[in-house]
């Protein structure tokens, strides 16, 4: 009996320590980024967030083109991925829950998450870029092939598994009696899905979508291979751009000079802050949905 009590409180202590360690780690990351970027914070000031030039030769560093690039590619990717993942979730959660086809689909979607980022980059370079080039020629745009839309489409496939798997779980958890009640009241199957199933699973699916947005914001290797790496502010998805993660991956190893290095770390800090803010905002949305639905 004494040993049972001893192990119980030890167990609890270990759990608390684990939780505290993770929170401390997060705060430590933030402060280490903040401290390392001090020379840049002093040299660049607030114009860092609004200026559009990134010039390592003159020492003029500004983050706006990369923030816009990150948000634009992530949002386009999120729209594409959400549409696809809702469709997949309904398919796997409602129609094909069991059976060989169901398990093949489920495995295929989950395997998408396991493909390394670099491999996605290669697929993008060899298949997606030429395809995008033909689209650009059709539309009369400069036939780069690489660009923000290419990166967004690639990202959409990379982040799809996160929202699709969670969405499938949420939809399969909708109580059968709710759906049967709707059907017995005369609703068609599609009306049942739109009016009953999806609203019920809404908050859980939103959580999955948030997870995939987090992945999209930070994705580096695949994006840097297909985005065209043009450090200018551009809202044209058919043209090249650059994201914060891709910029850091490209320029960090050769960056010589205190302010240059510190500015790159300041970009990392900015990415960290933006990701955290979007996650917090998303959590608020999820909670509100859970309360309302």
């Amino acid at each position: 009996m004494r040993s049972a009590r001893f192990s119980d409180s030890t167990f609890r202590t270990v759990l608390y320590l684990g939780g505290i360690a993770v929170s401390v780690l997060l705060i430590a990351i933030f402060f280490s980024l903040l401290l390392s970027s001090r020379p840049a914070l002093a040299a660049n000031g607030f114009r860092f967030l609004t200026g559009t030039e990134w010039n390592p030769v003159t020492g003029s560093f500004h983050a706006l083109p990369f923030v816009v690039g990150t948000l634009l590619t992530s949002l386009i990717a999120l729209v594409i991925a959400t549409i696809l993942s809702i469709a997949l979730s309904i398919l796997m959660g409602e129609y094909f829950r069991t059976g060989p086809f169901a398990s093949v689909m489920r495995t295929a979607v989950e395997l998408l998450a396991g493909i390394p980022s670099v491999v996605y980059g290669f697929i993008g370079v060899f298949f997606l870029v030429p395809a995008m080039r033909s689209v650009q020629i059709l539309l009369g745009a400069p036939p780069f092939g690489v660009g923000m839309l290419t990166a967004a489409v690639l990202l959409a496939f990379m982040i799809l598994p996160y929202s699709a798997s969670i969405g499938r779980e949420m939809i399969s958890l909708v109580p059968a009696d709710l759906k049967e009640a709707a059907l017995s009241l005369g609703a068609t199957p599609s009306e049942t899905i739109w009016r009953v199933t999806l609203p019920y699973a809404r908050s859980g699916m939103m959580g999955g979508i948030l997870l995939s947005l987090g992945r999209a914001l930070g994705e580096t290797m695949a994006v840097t291979m297909v985005i065209g790496n043009a450090n200018d502010l551009s809202l044209n998805p058919l043209g090249p751009g650059n994201t914060m993660a891709s910029l850091i991956a490209n320029e960090f190893s050769e960056a010589a000079g205190t302010v240059y290095l510190a500015s790159l770390i300041e970009i990392a800090l900015l990415l960290f802050v933006i990701s955290t803010l979007i996650n917090i905002a998303g959590k608020i949305v999820v909670n509100r949905m859970a309360q309302g639905g």
Binding site: P56, P142, F144, E254
Partner: protein
Amino acid sequence: MKLSRISVIALILSLAAGLGFSQSVELVGAGATFPAPIYSKLFDQYAKEFGVKVNYQAIGSGGGQSQLKNKTVDFGATDVVMTEKDLAGAPAPILHIPTVAGAVVITYNLPGNPELKLTGDVVADVFLGKVKKWNDSRITDLNPSVKLPGTAITVVHRSDGSGTTGVFSDYLSKVSDEWKQKVGTGTALSWPAGVGAKGNPGVAGLVKQLPGGFGYVELIYALQNSMPFAQMKNKSGNWIKASLASTSAAANVAVPDDVTKLSTTNSDAPDGYPIASFTWLILYKEQNYDNRPQAKVQAMLKMISWMIHDGQKYAEPLSYAVLPAAVVAKADAVIKSVTFNGKPLM
């Protein structure tokens, strides 16, 4: 109990053995990626002949410079000479020793892979975004016998910091005042036009894929990927095709005592290819710091000396250009000026 005791003894023995075996000299270097293949071959060969092992990490010229500043490596490697500001910020005076030479070529993607002739100012204006189409009069004037299409030129540059960019922008700053003003020289630039790709292979690959692509790569990559590259007009007015011979020839000018001041881009040499440059090893002038053993310093200097003399024979098979004799002589003088406690070692 017995197993844990045995494993502790085994651990201590292996640690002791490891310490014991580290009696042979091992050097650590880091830096430029451009010469990484030839350095890999040279260090491997040197270890076979003389037993001195060198661990070289190709992390980029900037990385080599900062690792040397932090004194975590014995020597650094850089494609571009360190700037006055960087040298002033280092804890002690740093010397540069040239090892091999390389060239940057302009490669492009046109139907039929014609061989084009280009001048520095035209290249600068393409990269500035001022010359936008292949059939622009400035390009057709230089290439009357080539049928150039009316398609747009798609500029491809480096997205990562690189010594290749440093050499190329140094050349463009010399031949175009507008480039010097607007963009300048550096390993990472604010490019006015075009898309970026990572590494020499990235630029080569993207130009190969993009119809109308126009980019710059090291000569080796163009040769190995069978890509066409342009003949350039050098300062003396001669049309030179980049080759190992014309790269070495670019240094056939009066070599100043401070070899770092010898810039071979746009050099006066009549047979020289205009976008050629050396790659350098960097080390501290005074080698007695952080309790370095004198034997290690001597081994390092002997190795560097071997690299610029006997080691040069390994350069050409790997498509690197050798140092001309006058440059080797000045490099020898630099090696002789390295001191240990104020006294020269070689």
